[in-house]
Symmetry: C2
Subunit: 212 residues, 2 copies
DNA sequence: CAGACGCTATGATTGCAATCATAATCGTGG
DNA sequence: CCACGATTATGATTGCAATCATAGCGTCTG
């Protein structure tokens, strides 16, 4: 769910260039001719669209292990800036190489489509999560979405501050929500684990449906 | 940007079944074996994930002209429910047919990837938009994102109420934001058009960057 | 034509998350 | 080891969007 570079790992035998980019510098700029697609090896890259009046909107933040600019495979020019947030290392794979491989290898193309479909699902779920106004309910919904593998358990792989940003809340609100949920017995916490007892026999209809 | 069923229109010659679904009824249910991918012809379909404790989380709302369950192409079982929000008509295309065509036709597969990449971009942009807290700034950013073709102009193809929902604001807030932006001269409105004068020579650095 | 319904619009009030402040704890590197 | 930064808290206050209410308007329909 998190890493979106899987298909790019499967893309063996292509030229790859390792680039080091200092914080604030650009991997590519909006309007430049597309030369490559990228994978973040270390650090963080921010994709922003510059608008006519000079303002900018963040479209995405790609982290280590993620590919970015996949859409560039289908465009002549980059539609956004890619700016290093911190000191960052990326791998560049020439667009032409990737296209050639994709056109020759339907299996690889399907892998790409699979990765993109997974991304769509992931980011859509995050978007719908934002439709939950209440911080408590939002945090709870996020936890329940994470509790995929072990049913009633979530193990964090990053600090709550990062999770808070992903959820679109301040970390203070998240800590408060967690404290509130724990005090009312909805969750339990131990170290970086959260347990969702999910009181036995809770019927679905007594709980308000989380919807848009 | 809006329609995501383009590739499915290009998929000619496959079996298609037209289904009518009453409001509240299911197109498919979580856990069921994947049989088809779908396109909404009329109405609205809500994709929800049911959780162990009976609660549900909305993953996506597919509207007329959009395809849904593309991810099903890569799965054996549906991972969510598809419930008709209103009386709805959908078109079902058997998964096996689609897979066969995709494996045989790299061009079609690339079309699918292209459509998915566009969806990722679109929904990411919407997600980042949510990171703007201020209703005024969010509405303004949305307008600027829409003003792609004609630089300083946005023409609405749907009512503000729908736009408000997409932006994650109440329609009241949107009307207020529009009124405020207009009164301060940032935008002008005529019928269903919005003009963004974008005061000439506005330097980029005097405006706070909209970021996460 | 009347009535219903959806869209546009604005006023008043309130709830709640952001914000600002402060502090304990933990981990890390110099 | 100690200093510094990041993380995990929690308290007080405030700003602002949601909510509730009301109304004019447009358009569709019987």
């Amino acid at each position: 769910m998190r890493q979106s570079a899987g298909w790019i790992e499967a893309l063996t035998g292509t030229n790859r260039t390792r680039l080091s980019v200092r914080a604030g510098e650009a991997v590519f700029l909006q309007g430049a001719a597309v030369t490559a697609v990228y994978a973040v090896k270390r650090g963080r890259v921010r994709l922003t669209r510059r608008l006519e009046d000079g303002s900018a909107i963040v479209l995405h933040v790609a982290r280590a292990g993620e590919a970015f600019a996949e859409a560039a495979l289908f465009a002549d020019h980059y539609h956004c800036d890619a700016l290093a947030d911190t000191d960052t290392e990326v791998e560049a794979i020439p667009k032409a190489d990737v296209r050639a491989r994709l056109e020759a290898d339907p299996g690889l193309c399907l892998d790409l489509a699979r990765a993109l479909a997974a991304q769509v699902r992931d980011v859509r779920a995050r978007l719908e999560l934002r439709n939950i106004r209440s911080a408590r309910e939002r945090v709870l919904a996020w936890l329940r979405l994470q509790a995929g593998r072990v049913p009633g358990e979530v193990e964090l792989d990053r600090p709550w501050t990062a999770v808070a940003a992903e959820m679109g809340l301040t970390h203070e609100s998240v800590y408060r929500a967690l404290a509130s949920l724990e005090s009312q017995g909805t969750i339990r916490r131990k170290r970086n684990r959260v347990y969702l007892p999910g009181r036995a026999g809770a019927p679905s209809r007594d709980r308000p449906t989380l919807s848009i």
